[in-house]
């Protein structure tokens, strides 16, 4: 028996509360910085400066954010259907295989604008198929999706090691990765976009056109969830499987479709680091971005706009964090991970911690802004 949640104005729900959570996360992180003997304010300044100070930093922040938008959207789509897809990491990793096949076969024949759609399709397809198996197991056998998707991350990792070491590594090479993609499989950079704002020349940042794709996908996900019949059915099932059954929505179909869309989005996140940055598919190229997507989706309230903002925040933490550990040797990479962890903790896991207090506050000085909720009666 908990007190019913009152409705808060949207700007509080989507603006104020996340900001308070974030502020608390940074205060606690600041204490950690203090503990290792550094000045937390200077650290914060370096972090923000590193991420947004110069064009170079902004480009890197946006590069990281691109990947996180994809993985955040992936988690959100499944989440709207009541499914917790922890397998974005594996789905993105396997998608690298699809990208490798498409690029290695066609990069000498096609220009980038012709190859890019094919690579998108290949990445989405591989990601979706990797999500299909856990989805099918959930829908038909009741195997819990959280467990199976976690397991499939490990399987994906092993499969990729095998493929990279034994199958697609060029002969004679010592590194477990594909050969470098030719120009046809190298995505154009968007650094000029930042330079246009007069933020200085960017030497070598991997900010590329897949950022535009990420924004387009965010819009499409919004359309899907709130403006299509499929999205309606997914949300119905997500909120109440019984109501979905009553409404004649097939449980098997909706689980499988939602997971495949989720897997496809996770797959697309592989485009950015491979075709956009490294121009090959290497071991461990996903490096945890799939898991960051969970935090991004939680923090962004599973709404595309929120996800874009949260992805920018995590992009900032990644880029600014790298600068920070460079400037303050006391703060190691691990410390950055701790700060990121705190953000996830306060913004994701503890997102409702401050809600009751804020609610009472609002109710006391402007009851009208809060609207009415049904009281608990017999």
């Amino acid at each position: 028996m908990s007190a019913p949640y009152a409705k808060l104005p949207a700007w509080v729900d989507y603006g104020l509360i996340p900001l308070i959570n974030l502020a608390v996360a940074f205060i606690v992180a600041g204490l950690v910085v203090l503990l290792v003997g550094e000045n937390p304010f200077r650290a914060a300044a370096i972090l923000v400066e590193g991420a947004f100070g110069r064009g170079q930093g902004i480009a890197f922040t946006l590069y990281y954010a691109t990947t996180f938008i994809f993985s955040g959207l992936s988690v959100a789509v499944a989440f709207h259907c009541g499914l917790f897809n922890i397998g974005g990491e594996g789905q993105g990793y396997i998608a690298g295989l699809g990208i490798a096949i498409a690029c290695l076969a066609l990069d000498s024949i096609l220009p980038w604008w012709a190859l890019f759609p094919i690579a998108i399709a290949a990445a989405a397809l591989f990601g979706a198929l990797w999500a299909l198996i856990p989805a099918w197991l959930q829908a038909k056998r009741g195997s819990h999706i959280v467990i199976t998707t976690i397991m499939f991350n490990f399987i994906a990792a092993s499969v990729m090691v095998y493929m990279l070491v034994d199958v697609i590594k060029p002969p004679g090479s010592m590194a477990p990765q594909t050969r470098l993609f030719l120009e046809g499989a190298q995505l154009p950079r968007l650094n000029w976009l930042i330079e246009m704002f007069g933020l200085g020349r960017i030497r070598s940042a991997p900010f590329n056109i897949s950022f535009i794709l990420a924004l387009a996908m965010a819009w499409l996900v919004w359309l899907l969830i709130w403006r299509t019949r499929l999205g309606y059915e997914m949300r119905t099932y997500g909120f109440s499987p019984k109501a979905a059954r009553y409404a004649g929505i097939s449980e098997t179909r909706i689980i499988i479709v939602a997971m495949m869309i989720s897997g496809a989005l996770a797959g697309m996140m592989a485009l950015n680091p491979t075709m956009g940055d490294q121009h090959n598919v290497a071991l461990d190229f996903v490096s945890g971005a799939g898991f960051v997507g969970i935090a991004v989706a939680l923090m962004g309230r599973s709404h595309p706009v929120g996800i874009i903002l949260a992805a920018l925040l995590f992009g900032m933490l990644y880029q600014g964090g790298a600068e920070l550990s460079f400037e303050m040797p006391n703060i190691s990479r691990d410390m950055i991970v701790i700060i990121q962890g705190l953000v996830i903790l306060f913004a994701g896991a503890l997102e409702h911690m401050f809600r009751p207090a804020i609610q009472t506050l609002f109710a006391s000085f402007s009851p009208r802004s809060v609207g009415m909720t049904e009281g608990k009666g017999a």
């Binding site: 028996m1 004649g248 909720t373 049904e374």
Partner: protein, 510 residues
């Protein structure tokens, strides 16, 4: 008058902006049965939860036996001599009665001594209050009436002097309810104090000494039961005059629209819940299925509506068979003109997290009129929802409001509007007024009669016998998965009550 067992002075409680209890002053005399009535959301349950320590009041004082009491948890309440029998039983099904009674009141780590003590104590309670129940029976094997008795025993075993019962008759047959009332009177004679929360005015009249009426978080009146009438109480509850009896003309049944033949349905554990049931519903009549909750009505309803598989038997809609044993497909049934108002609107009939307009298309969301190209036509859906809101007087009239923020009665109207506006051939309705306030009941009943008069075949399942009798043109009584009798609308309550208890031919009341 005797001195007060409980006094509540100036109790206030808000949940965020909702003022659930407002300056409540209430005095319950020792050794009396005090009724509390009110519509849903009037604040009855909140008030009792405060008394039992689930919630703390924002302000005000509770006095038990004249002394101020600080009740911060249910343990405090028990220590103060307050026991509660919840609407939903708090029993461990696979424990025996004895084990349930001592649960949470074990005297030490080893159970033997507690059990021996509890056994003798139970015998004493049985003697004193006529609360017979086999202490070694498993709770899951007891009928609901006896399970409730176990709840009462639990409270008494913990030394309760004041017993709060929250909607205790919802799951009982009329005979079981009468038995409960006898027990309550016996408790009163032994000096215990009983607080009875209910929305059934008949029960208040039958058993209480004093009654307090709650409306919108306040106590609007307290009356001596002997000096008030059902009509007065209903008016106090709603704040205006209420028609308690539905006005209707005689039915003019047409041809058979829904025909159920030898239907057998099992539940998820494989227990046969519907056993060889056959009946017809004609156009222009309401057929009511009466029965105590859990006798297969829910499963019957779900099988007809395509949510649950039948094991065998057939259902004919407009003369054509439905695929009852194949994969369930409520979507197809809707297309063929079968509308369904499910028993559980919170989890089945509505998605509470949705906006009102989203719920007003649930199940019909695939219709072309709600589509524009590949997308949903949001403006059409909103216009459609507004139209229904107006026709069914749904309040507040805001299709963008979250469904959870509507009252129970208005939520039910959302479901009814959706199903009735599809102009179905057959309307299958489960518990149309469960948890719905008196004002809305009147409206819903009139709508159902209007559907009948428009020539629809209506199948009504309800555990409220009054409702069945008020609406139905024919009454089928279900007991233990079978239809044990058919009666006309003028059958007496006693006659139906006996059928509902499964006592038609042989035995008499236990």
């Amino acid at each position: 008058m005797a001195k007060a067992a409980i006094e509540l002075v100036g109790i206030n409680k808000s949940f965020g902006p909702v003022h659930a209890n407002r300056d409540i002053n209430l005095e319950v005399a020792k050794g009396s049965i005090h009724g509390i009535v009110g519509e849903n959301g009037a604040g009855k349950s909140t008030l009792m939860s405060i008394l039992y320590g689930f919630y703390q009041a924002d302000s005000g004082e509770i006095r038990v036996g004249g002394k101020p009491a600080s009740i911060r948890s249910s343990n405090d309440a028990i220590a103060a001599g307050i026991g509660m029998v919840h609407q939903h039983f708090m029993l461990v099904d696979n424990f025996t009665v004895l084990e349930n009674v001592i649960l949470g009141a074990e005297s030490n780590a080893l159970l033997n001594s507690s059990i021996a003590k509890a056994r003798s104590e139970l015998l004493r309670l049985e003697r004193e209050y006529g609360l017979q129940v086999n202490p070694d029976a498993l709770v899951e094997e007891l009928p609901v009436g006896l399970q409730q008795r176990v709840e009462i025993l639990k409270a008494l075993y913990r030394g309760a002097e004041i017993l709060i019962l929250d909607e205790p008759t919802g799951v009982l047959t009329p005979a079981e309810a009468d038995h409960l009332f006898r027990i309550l009177k016996q408790l009163k004679e032994q000096g215990k104090t009983v607080v009875l929360i209910t929305h059934k005015l008949r029960e208040i009249m039958a058993v209480t000494d004093t009654v307090s009426v709650m409306r919108q978080g306040t106590v609007v009146a307290t009356r001596e039961t002997a000096r008030t009438t059902v009509e007065e109480l209903a008016e106090l509850m709603v704040g205006r005059r209420v028609l308690l009896r539905v006005q209707k003309d005689a039915a003019t049944p047409g041809e058979v629209k829904l025909s159920v033949r030898n239907l057998v349905v099992k539940d998820s554990r494989g227990v046969t819940m519907v056993n060889d049931v056959s009946f017809d519903v004609r156009a222009g009549e309401i057929v009511g299925i009466a029965g105590v909750a859990g006798n297969g009505q829910s499963e019957l309803l779900e099988a007809i509506a395509g949510i649950r598989h039948a094991v065998s038997g057939s259902v004919l809609l407009d003369g054509k068979p439905l695929d009852t044993t194949g994969p369930a497909d409520p979507a197809k049934l809707r297309k063929r003109g079968l509308a369904h108002v499910p028993e559980d609107r919170h989890h089945v009939g509505l998605v509470l997290a949705f906006e009102e307009n989203e719920n007003s298309i649930l199940g019909y969301h695939g219709q072309p009129r709600y589509r524009k190209g590949p997308l949903l036509d949001v403006s059409e859906i909103l216009a459609d929802a507004k139209d229904k809101i107006e026709k069914y007087d749904i309040r507040p009239p805001n299709p963008r409001l979250k469904t959870a923020n509507f009252s129970g009665g208005n939520q039910q109207k959302i479901v009814l509007a959706r199903e009735m506006e599809q102009d179905p051939t057959v309307l299958v309705v489960g518990q149309p007024t469960r948890g719905v306030d008196v004002g809305a009941i009147e409206f819903i009943h009139r709508r159902l009669i209007a559907m009948r008069d428009a020539g629809k075949a209506v199948l009504l399942v309800s555990v409220e016998l009054d409702e069945i009798r008020a609406l139905s043109d024919r009454i089928l009584v279900m007991f233990d998965g079978r239809i044990v009798g058919e009666r006309g609308p003028d059958a007496s309550e006693a006659e139906l009550g006996l059928l509902m208890a499964g006592i038609e031919q042989k035995e008499t009341v236990a």
